[in-house]
Symmetry: C2
């Protein structure tokens, strides 16, 4: 059965090319359950790939885009009649010594290759060989199927807060509507997701993408009339260049409690602290490369909106997402000053967003939801300066410990999409008692990406000291 | 320094697309030297990647194709100013249990991804985790740089027949002209290779590609006037379909002595026996799939030509390669009958080739050297039937045991290029006392490719029995 492709999804398919793969990813780290044998990972893998018939796989994970004379040259979704689970689910291993470094190397490489369009647009890699005995699981899903938030949610739906639950299917499994006891974020079943995700979360940008005139008008207004929520006065940085196809991924987590303590002592939010960590880290990183601009970097930060605030898409029950352009204050040498400036910029941005018209919100949202489409659009219209320097997302996750068939989830790190002109993406997700950071960059444009992890760590300490809690 | 791209190399760049990557590969298996420690592979990897400055890498491995306004939109070779050895040389591992099956799975995947054009067109993967303790080394080089024969020769130049030699650089290292003691096939130094390879071996097809009219005329003649050297009456098979981008690779070796014994007892050559193995295996494979055509399959078999025979390209001292279209006799049920028919077809083909004019040889050679360019050309000219069903190459290798820094080379298996309409490629190379087979196929178009290995093995036994030597 052929189904139409949503305009936004189509945008992601058309924007994709060799140097700009359009998939999001997630890296999960699991601790094996008590009594797991030597062949635990292989058994987990065999179990995962055993559900290989098309009626055992959810429709989202069975469809692939196709176009032909029959469809008048238009892309449509079509179920893969020759579905081959072995193409999608893969078993990998790390070379010795099996440190996190070797894991990040492998995941960087896996994230840098494109998904095959003649197949459903996803891959899942079960990875053994970490010397601490943990098991890694990297999943890769095309942005035409899910956005970053939905990808995290999809992973969450396959988890349970019950360590004793067994017989749990993988995230791509078809499930009955009832019988799921412990979905994390929302009790959605997988069969609901395609509709909710595509019609809900992405509907805003779908509409926005359909009205480039209104969008560009709003952006133009932003150029002439600086507001902190839609600032287009971002400096040029090394991040805002054409990119290559290879990727570098770095990931680490910090205790939520440390961030919360800093926030309490300074009257700021955890999200402000996350942004201040990024600001300090970006400043140190760019200083090392002698590439720090005189004016502060601007980050595009997607934020959730109340349905009544957004006026749109609420009927479908999806996520309404807006974006705030945050002045990152990277030009300020003092950590406390940066945190204060970010807090103020974020507050102003949210207020501005709240007072916006639906069309303006659409425009701002499109910046967040359709980063791949926007730059080309902006270039076409002769707007050459980057509207922002870096994308920083903070995706809420589960606050309780999660399990997959008894294996304890210890961390979950999002991988996102660098694009031409936006070579670095920082996405965090809270999980359990941690804030987990995932940094995805173009390997060539963002050299020594992993150094940012050290700088992030330094910045937590600096902020603690500045807040008088270190 | 910008250098022009040879027309044939350009053809391979232009013919490349997502489902049809244009690189050849080699899989080598090494036995660790006595006394190798636990971190032997890591040390080998660190040594390999330590030569990372551009003056330590041979020009062939430094250049990448580029085109711009400056070059009037034409592709040229340009040295990679930002050469990053870590992008090219990689350390991988196999999941447990670390059988050859896991190795072939990994290599299949690595061979299915495209090389990045913003980088020099090669990758090398050092692979640990085989349960028998051996070390695997997979290399991947774009067809625009080398053909299959040259790729095998390149690997050979990095080897030594002296088990005690140490301090040997990797194949991509720049070397002085003298001081190499033990090149295998020819005492060529690497710095000679680009010229020899591109101007020598590929010159024929370069010229042929430049004269499509003569080529197509010759092919048309073949259509109307069946000769065994240029038969265009190949049946349609499952191999002659559009392909996808994913690959399956299978490899195994058999003792040369077994093949030699069969040849002696039946008055045939080792090459005839190799083709008969393929014939029997293809027959059994297609029978299982209920897809064996009534008429016999036709294999395109590249053969080396004497310089005086080819009349061309000899001035440059390169390899002149012609092709014979061999009737594989897959319709015959008896192994001995198939071997006899192949022997006769091969003999006729060689004789016909010897009596051909240079232009005809050019045309036939182009079929072998430019398989990627030809099909499109044929389609353009309205010749829709496949000129042959499968490509089977037998590349001569070293007859003595080879070593790399004391590690004994136990086998070397070639990976080649499936293309649209030609989904299976079989390439063998003799090494030491073995005949090593590498089967590369489109994962979707050639299902259960690995079954061909079992059928090849059965066929050796069947041929031995038929020849009265089993």
């Amino acid at each position: 059965m052929v189904t139409p492709i949503d305009p936004t999804a189509l945008g992601f398919l058309l924007a994709e090319n060799r140097t700009q793969p359009m998939h999001v990813g997630g890296l999960q780290l699991f601790k094996k359950p008590e009594g797991a044998g030597r062949s635990y990972v292989r058994e987990m893998y065999e179990e995962m790939r055993s559900h290989d018939s098309t009626d055992e796989v959810a429709p989202l994970f069975l469809k692939h885009p196709t176009r032909s004379l029959r469809t008048a040259g238009q892309y449509v979704w079509e179920p893969d009649e020759l579905f081959d689970i072995d193409h999608h689910v893969r078993h990998s291993a790390l070379p010795k010594p099996g440190r996190v470094r070797e894991l990040l190397d492998l995941v960087s490489r896996l994230h840098g290759t494109r998904l095959a369009r003649e197949r459903p647009l996803w891959e899942a890699h079960l990875i053994e060989g970490l010397r601490d005995g943990r098991v890694a699981f990297y999943t890769k899903t095309h942005h035409a199927l899910v956005d970053g938030v939905s990808a995290m949610r999809l992973l969450a739906t396959a988890m349970s807060s019950d360590p004793d639950q067994r017989g749990m299917p993988a995230m791509w499994a078809a499930r009955p509507r009832s019988g799921r006891s412990s979905a994390v974020v929302d009790p959605v079943t997988l069969s609901d997701l395609p509709l909710q995700v595509v019609r809900g979360a992405l509907a805003i940008s779908a509409e926005a993408a359909g009205m480039p005139t209104a969008l560009v008008t709003t952006l133009r207004r932003g150029l002439n009339n600086e507001t902190s929520s839609l600032s287009l006065f971002a400096p040029r940085t090394i991040f805002n260049q054409p990119i290559t196809g290879s990727r570098r991924f770095a990931a680490q987590d910090w205790p939520l409690e440390r961030l919360r303590t800093i926030g309490k002592a300074t009257g700021t939010t955890i999200n402000d602290v996350v942004l201040a960590m990024c600001s300090g880290a970006l400043r140190a990183y760019l200083l090392e490369l002698d590439a720090l601009p005189d004016t502060g970097l601007v980050a595009m930060v997607p934020i959730g909106l109340q349905a009544k605030q957004s006026h749109i898409a609420s009927a479908e029950g999806g996520n309404a997402v807006g974006s705030v352009m945050v002045q990152m204050a990277t030009e300020l040498p003092d950590p406390r000053d940066r945190l204060s400036a970010i807090h103020a910029s974020m507050r102003d941005g949210k207020q501005a967003l709240a007072s916006m018209t639906p069309v303006q919100i659409q425009a701002v949202s499109a910046l967040g939801q359709a980063p791949a489409i926007l730059p080309s659009l902006l270039r076409m219209q002769g707007i050459m300066r980057p509207p922002y320097n870096v994308i920083i997302s903070n995706v809420p996750g589960s606050r309780t410990t999660q399990y997959f068939n008894g294996a304890r989830l210890e961390g979950i790190y999002p991988l996102s999409i660098p694009i031409n002109g936006m070579a670095l993406n920082i996405t965090c997700t809270s999980y359990d008692d941690k804030m987990c950071f995932g940094l995805t960059g173009c390997r060539r444009t963002v050299p020594h990406l992993q150094r940012l992890l050290g700088h992030l760590d330094d910045e937590v300490t600096a902020l603690e000291r500045a807040a008088g809690v270190g």
